[in-house]
Symmetry: C2
Subunit: 442 residues, 2 copies
C-alpha cells in the first residue's frame, strides 16, 4: 500500500522535473536545533558503549535523527551549492522521527514526501503557484486508492503581518501562533490568548479573527473583501501606509496564486486567511491542504515560502516547499477511505512440485517464467496437490502450474475461476495483470 | 545510482515471489540486545526533553535503532505468525545504523538489502540453495552498472563443528570466531589464538587451518577431500563416530548446495570451508560472497541458516537469509567499478519561456507532455535563450522546447545533436529513452 503510494508520488514529481535526493537520517545537533518549532521533539543518539557518559557532550555536538526533510535540505544545498543547477527542484521521500510522547494516531516514526525548489540569491514567485499544483496533481493520482478530493488553502504571511501592524499590533509571531490554534481551540479561546499574551485589545483581537474568517476563490474577491475589512478597522488603504503596502504585497502574490491555479486546475487552491503555520521560518506564502469530508484529519500537506532558512555568508537560498505527511495519509486511506492492505505474494504463478526429486523441473519452469517478467514461486514441499493450491490461495497467487508428467505437457489452473488449460512456460501469459501491493509496513 | 540498484534488486526479489516488508527503524532495547555480535554497536535514543535523565531507564526498556534487518524480521514473524503463510519469503531494503566509531569506508548509517525465508516449525533445505541463487541472479543484474562477477562461498557450521569435535576440541564458538579472522590477520595469528584462547594443541590448530583451506566445486570432490583430511588427522569416518556423523550431515547439505547450484548456474557457488561468520545465531549453512578482482572489499553479501532466532513458546521459526551491504557495494561501484553518479534532472524536455506573460503557454505544453508520460520542466525565468539552454545542459536535460509565436508552430531542439524540428506536444516523443539516475544520496 505505502510502497504503491510512494511510487505514484515519485512518478508525478519526476514528470515535473524534480530530482530525487536522499539525505542521511542522522544530523548534527547544531543543525537540528537551528530552526522550527519541532526542534524540541528531537531524538538524540548515544552509542551503547557511552551510556552514562553521553551528557559530557553538549547537545549541539551530539547526533540526532532528523525531524523533517527541510532542515537536511538546507544543509545539503549549502554543502553542494557549487554542484547544483539553480533553481534546484528536488523531491525527497524518507522517514523522519519526532521525540514526542506517542499518542493515538501519532507516530514516533513516519514517512514524509516533500518537494522544494531552492533559488540561489533569488527565486521567482511563479514557483509559489507551481509547487502546490504539483502536490494537487499528485494527490489527484491518489484518488484511485480512495482518497477524497484535496484543496489547498493558501495565505501569505506578509498579508497577515501588514494587517496586524495596520491594527497597531507588534507581536506578529505571537499573533500568528495563536491564530494557528483556531481549528483546535476555537475563536473564544484564541481571542483570550491574543488579549492576554499578545497585547491585543478586544477590538484588535476581533479584527484578527475577522481576517481569519476571510476566504476567496479569486484575486478580485480577495482584494475587495480585504480592503473592506481594512476600511472597517480604520486601516488606510493608500500608498502612504507602510503596513498596508506590506499586506498588499502579500495579497498580490496570493491573488496571483489563486487566479493562476483556477486557470490550470479550477477549485484546487483557495485563499483562506486563517492559515498561519506554526513554523517560524516561513516568510511569504503558506499552505495547508484539506480533504473533502475529512476535516478532523487536519492538513495533510503543508508548506510555504522561506527566504532565510539556508544561507552561506551573505548568500541566501530562498525556497518554496510542501510536505505530505505520508504515514498519516496512508493510515487514513487504510482505515477510512476504503483502501486495504493485504499480505499477498508478488508472484502470479505457483509452480507445483509432484515430488522432491522433480523439484528441479519445477524450478526450471519458474525460471523460464521469470525470464519473461512473470513473477513465479515454487511450492515449498511436494505436499498433496490440495495443500499446494491452498498455499497459493493463502498468498493470493492466482495461478498454479502443473509440470507435465510422463511425456504429457504442462497445464496451468486459474484457482479463482477454476479454468485449467495446457500451457508453455516460454509463451504463456496471465490473463489479467492484477495490481499488487508489494510492501507491507509494520 | 542507489535508487536504480534498489529498483533492480526489488524486481528480482519480486520475480522470485518474495513479499516486500518494511519494519520500523526504532525497536525496543530488549529486542536489540537479544542476538548477534553487532548488539554492541547499538545507537540508543533519548528525547531532547529527557537529556540528563535517560539513564534512569534500563537499556532494555529504552529505544534504539535497528542494526540489521534480521532481528526486526524475527520480531515481525512472531507478532504476525497468525496472518502469514509459511514458508514466509520476504525482501526488505532499509537503512540500518551501527553505533561504531566512524572509519574510512565504514558508515554509521547504511542500506541493507535482505531476503529471508522463514518456516513455521520446519523449513525444507532446498531453500539453502535457492536463496543464494536468487542473490546471485540479483548481483548478475547489477553487472550492467559495472559490477564484476560474484561468487558465493558456502560452508556449513555442522561440518566445521563435527570436524573440530572429531579432533577433540570443545570450544566450537571460539574456534569459529578465530577462523573468521583468517582473511584479516593470517594463518599464523589465527593459529596462535586457537592455541592460546581455545585450548587447541599445535596439531589441532594446524588441522583447523587445513580444514579452512579446503575448497570444492562439487559434492564428490568435497566429500573426498574432507574424508582424506579426517583420515590424516585420525578422525574415524564410520557411522559409530558421532562427530563425523554431525560433520557428514553438514557436508551432505553443502554438497547438495554446490551440485544443485552448478546445475542451475555453473560457477556461482563453491564450497569454501574457511567461511565461518562471526554471528552466533547461524546453525547450518553459512555464506559469503566475493567479487572477482575485489578481494579487499571482503564479502558483499552474507548470511546463513538460523534455526533458533525466532520462537514463540515451543514453536520455532527456522530461517535462511542473505543480506547485501548495499551502501558499501554502491560506494565500490561508484569509486572503482566505473559507475558514476550525477545530478541530472529526470526531465527529458525543458520548455523555454519567451517572456513571463507567456509562462502559462509554456506550462500548458509541459503539462501536455507530462500527461503522455514525458517528464518536462519549464525554464525558471524568461532569460535570454542561451541562458535557458545552458540551464537545460547543466541539468542534463537533452531537449529544449520552443513554444510557437505569432501563429508559428512549436519546435524542439536536441541540444546534444543540435537538431531542431517542428513538434506537437500531443504527439512528439524523445528519440531515445535515456536511462536516468533519479536519486542522489548524501
Amino acid at each position: 500500500m505505502e510502497q504503491r503510494v510512494i511510487d505514484t508520488l515519485r512518478r508525478v514529481f519526476e514528470l515535473n522535473g524534480f530530482l530525487g535526493i536522499e539525505t542521511r537520517a542522522v544530523e548534527q545537533g547544531s543543525s537540528l536545533l537551528k530552526k522550527g518549532e519541532t526542534s524540541k521533539e528531537i531524538y538524540l543518539l548515544s552509542r551503547l558503549q557511552e551510556v552514562g557518559q553521553e551528557n559530557d557532550t553538549p547537545v549541539e555536538e551530539r547526533l540526532g535523527l532528523h525531524f523533517d526533510l527541510t532542515v537536511p535540505l538546507s544543509r545539503y544545498v549549502v554543502e553542494h551549492s557549487g554542484d547544483l543547477a539553480f533553481p534546484f527542484k528536488r523531491w525527497q521521500i524518507q522517514k523522519v522521527w519526532r521525540g514526542e510522547r506517542p499518542q493515538e494516531g501519532r507516530f514516533r516514526e513516519f514517512v514524509q514526501a516533500d518537494i522544494d525548489v531552492i533559488g540561489n540569491g533569488d527565486l521567482p514567485d511563479h514557483y509559489e503557484v507551481e509547487l502546490p499544483l504539483v502536490m494537487v496533481t499528485a494527490l489527484e493520482q491518489l484518488r484511485e486508492f480512495g482518497l477524497p478530493k484535496a484543496t489547498v488553502h493558501a495565505n501569505n504571511r506578509k498579508l497577515s503581518e501588514g494587517f496586524y501592524r495596520g491594527l497597531g499590533l507588534t507581536d506578529i509571531e505571537g499573533v500568528l501562533r495563536e491564530i494557528d490554534k483556531l481549528d483546535k481551540i476555537g475563536a473564544d479561546e484564541v481571542s483570550k490568548l491574543l488579549v492576554e499574551g499578545c497585547g491585543a485589545s478586544e477590538a484588535q483581537a476581533r479584527a484578527c479573527l475577522e481576517l481569519a474568517e476571510l476566504t476567496a476563490a479569486n484575486g478580485t474577491e480577495l482584494a475587495e473583501k480585504f480592503d473592506a475589512l481594512c476600511a472597517a478597522h480604520g486601516i488606510a488603504t493608500d500608498g502612504s501606509n507602510e503596513s498596508y503596502a506590506l499586506a498588499r504585497e502579500g495579497l498580490d502574490t496570493l491573488a496571483m496564486i489563486v487566479d493562476e491555479a483556477a486557470r490550470i486546475r479550477p477549485g484546487s487552491v483557495i485563499a483562506d486567511l486563517k492559515i498561519a503555520r506554526g513554523l517560524d521560518y516561513y516568510t511569504g506564502s503558506v499552505y495547508e491542504t484539506f480533504l473533502d469530508g475529512a476535516a478532523s484529519l487536519g492538513s495533510i500537506c503543508s508548506g510555504g515560502r522561506y527566504d532565510n532558512l539556508a544561507s552561506q555568508g551573505n548568500r541566501k537560498y530562498p525556497g518554496v516547499g510542501l510536505s505530505i505527511g505520508l504515514s498519516r495519509l496512508v493510515s487514513y486511506m487504510l482505515h477510512t477511505a476504503g483502501a486495504h492492505a493485504s499480505r499477498v505474494s508478488p508472484a502470479a504463478v505457483l509452480v507445483a512440485v509432484w515430488n522432491e526429486d522433480e523439484r528441479t523441473a519445477s524450478n526450471r519452469i519458474a525460471d523460464a517464467l521469470r525470464a519473461r517478467g512473470i513473477a513465479a514461486d515454487v511450492a515449498p514441499t511436494a505436499a498433496k496437490l490440495g495443500k499446494q493450491i491452498k498455499y497459493a490461495d493463502k498468498l493470493g497467487i492466482p495461478y498454479v502450474w502443473f509440470p507435465g508428467q510422463d511425456g504429457a505437457g504442462d497445464e496451468v489452473k486459474n484457482i479463482v475461476s477454476g479454468d485449467q488449460n495446457p500451457a508453455d512456460a516460454t509463451s504463456w501469459r496471465p490473463d489479467t495483470v492484477v495490481a499488487r501491493q508489494t510492501v507491507v509496513i509494520d
